[in-house]
């Protein structure tokens, strides 16, 4: 498992994007999201959701984290999948590599069984991409140091912070 900051590079992003697109089409889902376990959105595709995806991501991660603790209490390592079934829309959540959460939002045009099947296939593919990415990051964080944004970045960010955060 990679430690420290993590970064997503162009090629990995597009590889992930492709897998999510295929999953959405083959399962007839409304939208598919990939979320970091700490609550940060990695990618979202499909119908533009009518809700705030940033907040959604933080809540989905919290949901998973709380369920992981519940799993531990009943003697399981984790609950790797969660399903929330609503009258019209439902959510399928799958933990991958103990690091990211795949979220599928689907309605009654498809079934949980199909979503589960296609999500499992997508998870295996995502696992390959993520493992390659984590290996790359492990090397960067340990041997090279975290990816740098350049010296000017902090200076520009500071002036932005000063102008935004004031009474």
């Amino acid at each position: 498992m990679v430690k420290g900051n993590w970064a997503l590079f162009e090629e990995d992003f597009w590889a992930i994007n492709q897998i999510l697109q295929t999953l959405m089409r083959s399962s007839s889902a409304r939208s598919v999201m990939l979320i970091d376990k700490t609550g940060q959105l990695i990618n979202s595709i499909g119908e533009p959701p009518g809700f705030d995806v940033t907040s959604f991501s933080s809540l989905a991660a919290a949901d998973f984290a709380a369920n992981e603790q519940l799993a531990e209490m009943v003697g399981e390592t984790d609950f790797a999948t969660l399903v929330h079934q609503g009258a019209k829309d439902s959510l399928f959540l799958q933990l991958i590599s103990n690091r990211v959460i795949l979220v599928v939002l689907f309605d009654r045009k498809t079934s949980l069984g199909l979503v589960r099947l296609k999500a499992r296939r997508a998870s295996d593919e995502l696992l390959d991409v993520l493992q390659r990415l984590f290996e790359k990051l492990q090397y960067r964080n340990e041997e090279v140091g975290p990816p740098s944004l350049g010296a000017d970045f902090a200076a520009e960010a500071e002036s932005e912070i000063d102008s935004l955060f004031r009474d």
Partner: protein, 192 residues
Amino acid sequence: MSLINYSSREINCKIVYYGPGLCGKTTNLQHIYSRVPQETRGKMISLATEMDRTLFFDFLPIELGQIRGFRTRFHLYTVPGQVYYNASRKLILKGVDGVVFVADSQIDRYEANIESLMNMHDNLAEHGLSIEKIPMVIQYNKRDLPRVVSVPDLEKELNPQSHPYYEAVAFRGTGVFDTLKLACKQVLKQLG
């Protein structure tokens, strides 16, 4: 553990407000929410009890805008302060990039501050983190109240490592942005 997405050119950082129950963590976020321009803030989520005590967390995403081509966001979280919600506090610290420790200056809450700070150290350690590795800003809140501990005494007990601190009256907004600004700058400095 910030997430840098080089493809969509986004940077997301996580700052957690920690401290004992009723010290003013949620008040800090509410003030920030009420004062930053609407287009820079997302929805504020509060998972609270019916009595308005934080049950799981408050969450407020703030967007700094484009910096050197990167859309930069801070995700602000509070933890539930009440002692028995420790499992939740531990979860929220996962992947934290910077901490704001909000201390309650009142004499009666002196012990609660120490207990909360020790609890934070323990919970960080469980994630393999320590306050030596991630930035922390301390906020001495409720400075307007009559029976408060002096700042030097608070410093001696809560801040032996001399982390930067601000005095605050969060419900009036005093010191809220100073604290946030410094925490954000320190987090970004670590990235750069």
